[in-house]
Amino acid sequence: MASYALRRVLGAIPTLFIIITLAFFMMRLAPGGPFDSQRHLPPEIERNVAAAYDLDKPLYEQYFLYLDHLAHGDLGPSYKIKDFTVGQLIAAGFPVSAKLGLSAIFLALVFGIGLGVTAALYQNRMSDHAIMSVAMFGITIPNFVTAPLLTLLFGVYGLHFFGLDLSLPVAGWNGGALRNMILPVTVLALPQIAIIARLVRGSMVEVLHSNYVRTARAKGMPSHVIVTRHALRVALLPLVSYLGPAVAQLVTGSLIIEQIFQLPGIGRYFVIAAIDRDYTLVMGAMIFYAALIILFNLMADILYGVLDPRVSYNT
């Protein structure tokens, strides 16, 4: 398995290289530049600024310069956020996004799997239909709707329970306090719960109709043994494939959530940096995201093999 992981990591290097190259040139194909929106400057100052950031050199030279810096682990300075390097920005924001994202995934797994299995066990009966309708609802409602609604409900109106004030803060990170995390994590987790519940229900229904579950029933195994021991592991396989990219996406934050709840994550960089033509920050965020995708997909594949002994890492 170790050699398999090593081969996969080595295999990822050309992939990353292609991503870097494409991202670099596509970004430069977009009209405008990082300093266009600023007040008109005298031409020589503009030239000086461009020279300071090597923007006066031919594009291919800039590309090789960037690769050279990257090879030394330097993602370069941000063009727009003064006095910060891209590395510093990601290092500061990623823990926030990761904490939110991982909490959301954890919540989504617990509820999603639970609901999915329940729906499958009661296939085509009331509870199944109820869970699946709610799940459909959860997928279709965007988070910029759920976020303000939950804010209104729990933040503005507040919640009082036997004299206890359970209202939640509507914004701010507050050093990652639990109270501050509840609303954003819930908003992030809701659609994931719905997706996971649907995914798990589908595969669980299939597994429950399989021959080996029939065998387990013929052996007189009680239902909880059939579900947990015989069915669940195989039923979770499609979920594992889904989780690879999903986790990568969640831990890299979301612009909408960060804006609504005023959180210092890295999700906003993906959008804002692109609009601002903050070349280095876009590239940095992109490379970081790509590396995470590759990493989590690798973890998903390894987990696949742990769950299913038929998967072999030899080929």
Partner: protein, 598 residues
């Protein structure tokens, strides 16, 4: 007979389907006595499996069972799961047809056997483990301690079915219901599994219900036999009555449909003699097919076909017989150039197909066609059967007009016994036999010179099998085609082949005329194969002296495997270059691979 332990009374099984209610089992009555083996025989769709799934409370969710099923007087039907679970898996157990899909893939076989003991008898782990080892020994699984920790996919088909039986026996049940337990297995493996079940019945006095479509399997095991058709029992009685004086036409039909290796040719069984002047059209010389297999960082070659030579004449049928993994399908595909051969040559009408450019090979394809095993899976479900049959014409004879194509399709459908008006139907609207007729029509419509039938009748009921074999024979004489008829079933091959070639692990072990190979088999593997075929005659089947086959198929990656019948020449190293057994001509046209004397 003492009071029955298992009693089915007025059992009805209905299924609610989108096409309406299906009455699968019709007010059926059946009993099983103490230490008795009841054989239940019927063709596919007779309701025999649903009957026993219903008694165990295992019907699909759209199924509904009414009536009464009693175990030692205790009603089982309509009981809650909790009550049923006291009986299921401990007093009454059931094993199924396909052991690979019937075992949980991510649990070791030991854990799967053990959980029955832990749940039903609440045995502590070490005691349960001891009991598992005992029962593995009982079903003749060697090295039980190692096997326990293996997963189902790491075992062979025969081993998996033994694990299933071990699971069924571990709690010491009164009744074992075996639903087609040997149908998916090779004939020699089937013989071993049946042996094990016979011993279990004799030693442990377990009652057995053996459900099968195979009259031969039932003949060797059952004390009483019930014949099912359309959800009803049409005839029921002691095994000798059923086999020697059947009263119902359907029972007689089932018995007649069974090809008999133990008897001389019945009417119509004899194969039309070959024109002695017929020219050789196909010459296969020392054909090898290898597949790379990666083990860790190293790659070995799996020799699927390992030096096979034969010739085929115009109008001749060569039967190729062998068990799973013997390379018969790889051989067929390599002959047709559907997969590349690593060595050797296929010479078609004097031309080495290896030298023919691919564009020209496409043109030559008109002359050779193939019919596959699973008729439904081999047809495109979104194409009407008419389109499927017409497709080879469209690609191989593109000059034909649409009307001409349709006319030919209709004619061909008529020829294979399908109503031409069904031209716009879809495969799922047909039965397995009808779909195989479509497959045959599709292969024959370009009037090929060579047709390869790769297990073309294996998935069909015996009566349908006979019809399809007859059809192929008729078409062969009509078009004067050559046939390569591949099957694991020796008795089917006998009805169609002029010559028979027996393959074992990619090599020819025996090649002879049809009559010679059945009357005078020389190689121990051929003998084992022939003796393993169950005879639908209780007295003969029980008296038969079985030639023990070789046991487990060795790994084809192990070079010693090819010398399993010639151990005296084997070098004891799994990677060594080994001696190649030669084919010796013991009589004109009768080739036998070298082997140690028995």
């Amino acid at each position: 007979m003492a009071a029955p332990i298992f009693e089915i009374k007025d059992l009805d099984v209905h299924f609610a389907t989108p096409d309406g209610d299906v009455h699968a089992v019709k007010s059926l009555n059946l009993t099983v006595g103490e230490a008795e083996c009841l054989g239940v025989v019927g063709e596919s769709g007779s309701g025999k499996s649903q009957l026993f799934l219903a008694t165990m409370g295992l019907l699909a969710t759209n199924g509904r069972a009414t009536g009464s099923v009693r175990y030692r007087g205790e009603e089982m039907l309509g009981q809650p799961q909790r009550a049923l679970n006291r009986l299921r898996g401990s007093k009454i157990t059931m094993i199924f047809q396909d052991p690979l899909t019937s075992l949980t893939p991510h649990m070791t076989v030991g854990a799967q056997i053990m959980e029955s003991l832990r749940v039903h008898q609440r045995l502590p782990r070490d005691e349960a483990e001891k009991r598992v080892l005992e029962v593995l020994d009982l079903v003749r699984i060697p090295e039980g301690r190692r096997r326990m920790h293996q997963y189902p996919h790491e075992l062979s088909g025969g081993m998996r079915q033994r694990v299933m039986i071990a699971m069924g026996m571990v709690c010491g049940p009164d009744l074992l219901i075996a639903d087609e337990p040997t149908t998916a297995l090779d004939v020699t493996v089937q013989a071993e599994i049946l042996d094990i079940m016979r011993d279990l019945k004799a030693e442990l006095k377990t009652s057995i219900v053996l459900v099968s479509h195979d009259m031969g399997v039932i003949a060797g095991m059952a004390d009483r036999v019930a014949v099912m058709r359309g959800g009803e029992i049409v005839e029921h009685g002691p095994v000798e009555d059923i086999y020697y004086s059947p009263r119902h036409d359907y029972t007689r039909m089932l018995l007649d449909a069974m090809p008999r290796l133990d008897r001389p040719d019945a009417d119509g069984d004899a194969v039309a003699p070959l024109d002695p002047a017929a020219a050789t059209i196909l010459d296969v010389e020392d054909l090898h097919v290898g597949f790379p297999v990666t083990e860790g960082w190293s790659t070995k070659t799996l020799r699927a076909v390992d030096g096979v030579s034969f010739t085929l004449r115009e109008g001749e049928t060569l039967g190729i017989v062998g068990e799973s993994g013997c390379g018969k399908s790889s051989l067929a595909r390599a002959v047709l150039k559907l997969i590349p051969n690593t060595e050797g040559a296929v010479v078609w009408l004097g031309r080495d197909l290896g030298q023919v450019a691919s564009a020209e090979l496409r043109k030559l394809r008109k002359d050779f066609q193939i019919v596959f095993q699973d008729p439904l899976a081999s047809l495109d479900p979104r194409m009407t059967v008419g389109e499927s049959i017409a497709e080879p014409l469209r690609s191989l004879k593109p000059h034909l007009t649409r009307a001409e194509v349709t006319a030919q399709v209709r004619k061909m459908m008529d020829l294979v016994g399908l109503e031409p008006v069904w031209i716009n139907r879809y495969p799922h609207e047909f039965s397995g036999g009808q779909n195989q007729r479509v497959g045959i029509a599709r292969a024959m419509i370009v009037e090929p010179k060579l047709v390869i039938c790769d297990e073309a009748v294996s998935a069909l009921d015996a009566s349908i099998q006979a019809q399809i074999v007859d059809l192929i024979r008729e078409l062969q004489s009509e078009f004067n085609m050559s046939l390569i008829f591949i099957s694991h079933d020796l008795s089917v091959v006998r009805r169609i082949a002029h010559r028979v070639m027996v393959l074992y692990l990619g090599r020819v072990v025996e090649l002879a005329d049809r009559d010679t190979i059945y009357a005078d088999p020389r190689h121990p593997y051929t003998k084992a194969l022939i003796s393993a075929v169950p005879i639908p005659d209780p007295r003969l089947e029980r008296a038969k002296r079985r030639v023990r086959p070789t046991g487990e198929l060795p790994s084809p990656l192990d070079t010693r495997a090819s010398l399993i019948f010639l151990k005296s020449k084997a070098v004891d190293d799994p990677d060594a270059e080994q001696y190649r057994p030669k084919l010796i001509e013991v009589a004109p046209g009768h080739l036998v691979a070298e082997h140690d004397a028995a």
